[in-house]
């Protein structure tokens, strides 16, 4: 097997807490993942899973009063958590771009689109005015905005949601970052626009080798563009691996249950009901011992009280935090494992 290229981003043991008057609230308990250059990695989870904070931690954009209390984040060999303010600004300006769910609030409503892109280029890349202007128009064209010269004169409110998202992508990729953090970029968009934006992200990856961390709660979106995916629940990564492996051979009960409950177009006309996960996800304030999912898990055993939520390999690149492995025996590709791991 060829040696995999060195990861562009690695997160290990990330812990994000909030200081509340009654003690600590832990939103991200122990998250770890890695992204290789040009890879599109998905981070999927529901409310309270900690996925958004994990994403924002990469550039230390955790909103007050939260802070990162443990863990290591390395970008291209550089220690992000130990960076000084200037280094961090450099990282954010040149190496890592971020796009958000609501493009409207990320664009300044009183400035023209073209001016906002030009400003980024001048400030971050030090381009001269006319150079920046030309490059801005190029960028807008790159993200699929036709007639860029005329459209650049518009204000954000004159653009549709999809167009604004494209502008955000243009802004975020203007300085040729190696990594793009996309926090639910298509959640607020219509399905046709969503398809276009996802296609745009894939094209950027092809043309410029930009890696993407795509945070979403929508498996359909993840499955369409991601190479690998990490599943978060209760502040932990419970499973991660190549998309095919998770889709066809998910080893963590939560992943399977989540996949099972995703609405499918193919269900039209069928009488069978979707299996549901009983109960609700844990709140960030709950202190949980053992497996975070055990309260809602069909396959829970007494030994689950002692689980450490560490990821163990299932196969190359595919890890799970569930030692019980209730599905291992049923999968023909896997040799049967007897019971729980020691």
């Amino acid at each position: 097997m060829t040696v995999a290229p060195k990861p562009l981003l690695t997160i290990e043991g990330l812990r994000v807490e909030f200081d509340s008057p009654d003690g600590r609230v832990v939103a991200v308990r122990d998250a770890g993942l890695s992204i290789r250059p040009g890879e599109i990695v998905g981070l999927i989870g529901e409310s309270g899973s900690g996925k958004t904070l994990t994403c924002r931690s990469v550039i230390r954009l955790v909103p007050w009063p939260g802070n990162i209390t443990a863990g290591q984040i390395e970008f291209d060999g550089r220690d992000v958590l130990g960076m000084k303010p200037k280094e961090l600004r450099d990282l954010r300006a040149h190496d890592v771009g971020m796009i958000y769910q609501d493009p409207f609030s990320s664009l300044n409503p009183v400035f023209r689109i073209g001016d906002q892109v030009t400003e980024t280029l001048r400030v971050n890349l030090g381009l001269g005015r006319s150079e920046a202007r030309a490059r801005a128009l190029e960028l807008l064209g790159d993200v699929g905005i036709r007639d860029a010269e005329r459209r650049a004169l518009s204000y954000p409110h004159e653009f549709s949601g999809g167009m604004r998202q494209r502008v955000m992508i243009a802004l975020a990729t203007a300085s040729e970052p190696r990594l793009l953090l996309a926090d639910e970029p298509t959640t607020a968009l219509d399905v046709t626009t969503q398809a276009q934006i996802l296609a745009l992200l894939m094209r950027l990856r092809e043309e410029r080798n930009i890696a993407v961390l795509l945070v979403s709660h929508d498996f359909g979106v993840i499955a369409q563009v991601c190479d690998r995916v990490a599943v978060m629940y209760g502040g932990h990564i419970v499973e991660s691996g190549p998309i095919e492996a998770l889709y066809n051979n998910a080893q963590h009960p939560y992943t399977r249950a989540l996949l099972d409950s995703v609405p499918q177009l193919e269900s039209a006309g069928r009488v069978t009901r979707k299996p549901v996960i009983p109960g609700t996800p844990p709140e960030p304030t709950e202190s949980l011992t053992g497996c975070v999912f055990k309260a809602r898990c069909r396959h829970a055993q007494p030994s689950c009280d002692l689980v450490s939520m560490e990821l163990e390999p299932v196969s190359s690149g595919h890890d799970t935090a569930c030692p019980v492995r209730p599905f291992a025996a049923t999968d023909p590709a896997q040799p049967a494992r007897a019971g729980a791991e020691a």
Partner: protein
């Protein structure tokens, strides 16, 4: 189309917005261009069925839903509930018609009065309409919560103490408490997590099967509609472009817009092996 199976019949419904003219326009006698939010829409909702109403943002589906219960007054067309003319009704008659057609809204965080406890909200619904059993408040509330699989303990809580899924269930319970024959779910699951969404969808199916409630299910996600709707109607820019049995429409779309909607649906790069 007026057979006994039809419970709600909408014919030629129209709603325009934006007819108010600015002072400048009045001076220049310019005609303001109205926005046709609902453009000549007709459909029927049959007893005991779930009819999906699909459209993207701006399609007019929410406006249509609100026109049916006259939260917004339609400009033209007829709405008949079991033969009774909804648009002509007034006062007590309208109140009774509204009782029979209840709505569940999209945002669980603002569809319940933040200052009322769950129990108080449910009791109020029962008392205002003199529902049988509403005199015995506690019992009434307990049964209302049971219908949506919630524990009676929640009666004393305020909405902010509940999760999104629980709030939506309470909203459904409140709607059911007045004994409707039709439930209009206006994007009722769109703001919920996938696993919670699945729970609510099953609840709607239960309501259809066990209580015989007819449901108009408004949504923008095709997959959600596929899970729950018997028949589906597709809306595009105010017009109803296609309708029929869900499986048939999705497998064999006739209208161009329907086709484009289905084509845009995220297709995983791989098919999931049945688990």
């Amino acid at each position: 189309m007026n057979d006994s199976a039809t419970l709600l019949h909408v014919q030629g419904l129209c709603k325009d917005f934006g007819l108010r003219r600015t002072v400048a326009e009045r001076i220049t006698r310019e005609q303001a261009k109205p926005v046709r939010a609902v453009d000549d829409v007709s459909f029927a909702l049959r007893r005991g069925e779930i009819l999906g109403l699909v459209g993207e943002s701006g399609s007019g589906k929410t406006t249509l839903a609100r026109c049916i219960i006259r939260l917004v007054e339609p400009d033209a067309g007829t709405i008949k509930l079991d033969g009774v003319d909804v648009r002509a009704a007034g006062g007590g008659e309208l109140r009774e018609l509204r009782r029979r057609m209840q709505m569940v809204f999209q945002d669980p965080y603002s569809s319940l009065n933040p200052r009322m406890t769950v129990g108080a909200a449910l009791q109020e619904a029962g008392r205002v309409h003199n529902r049988p059993g509403s005199e015995n408040g506690e019992q009434f509330v307990r049964e209302a919560l049971e219908r949506v699989h919630l524990s009676a303990n929640l009666a004393k809580r305020r909405p902010r103490e509940l999760s999104g899924g629980q709030r939506q269930r309470v909203a459904v319970a409140r709607a059911l408490a007045v004994g409707p024959e039709v439930l209009i779910a206006d994007e009722a699951v769109s703001a919920l997590d996938v696993s919670v969404q699945a729970q609510l969808l099953n609840l709607f199916l239960d309501l259809r099967d066990e209580l015989g409630v007819a449901i108009l299910f408004v949504a923008h996600q095709l997959a959600v509609i596929a899970e729950v709707a018997d028949r589906v109607a597709i809306m595009n820019r105010g017009r109803l472009v296609e309708d029929g049995q869900t499986a048939a429409v999705f497998a064999n779309p006739q209208d161009e817009y329907t086709k484009s909607l289905l084509a845009a649906h995220p297709r995983p790069r791989l098919q999931r092996a049945t688990s």
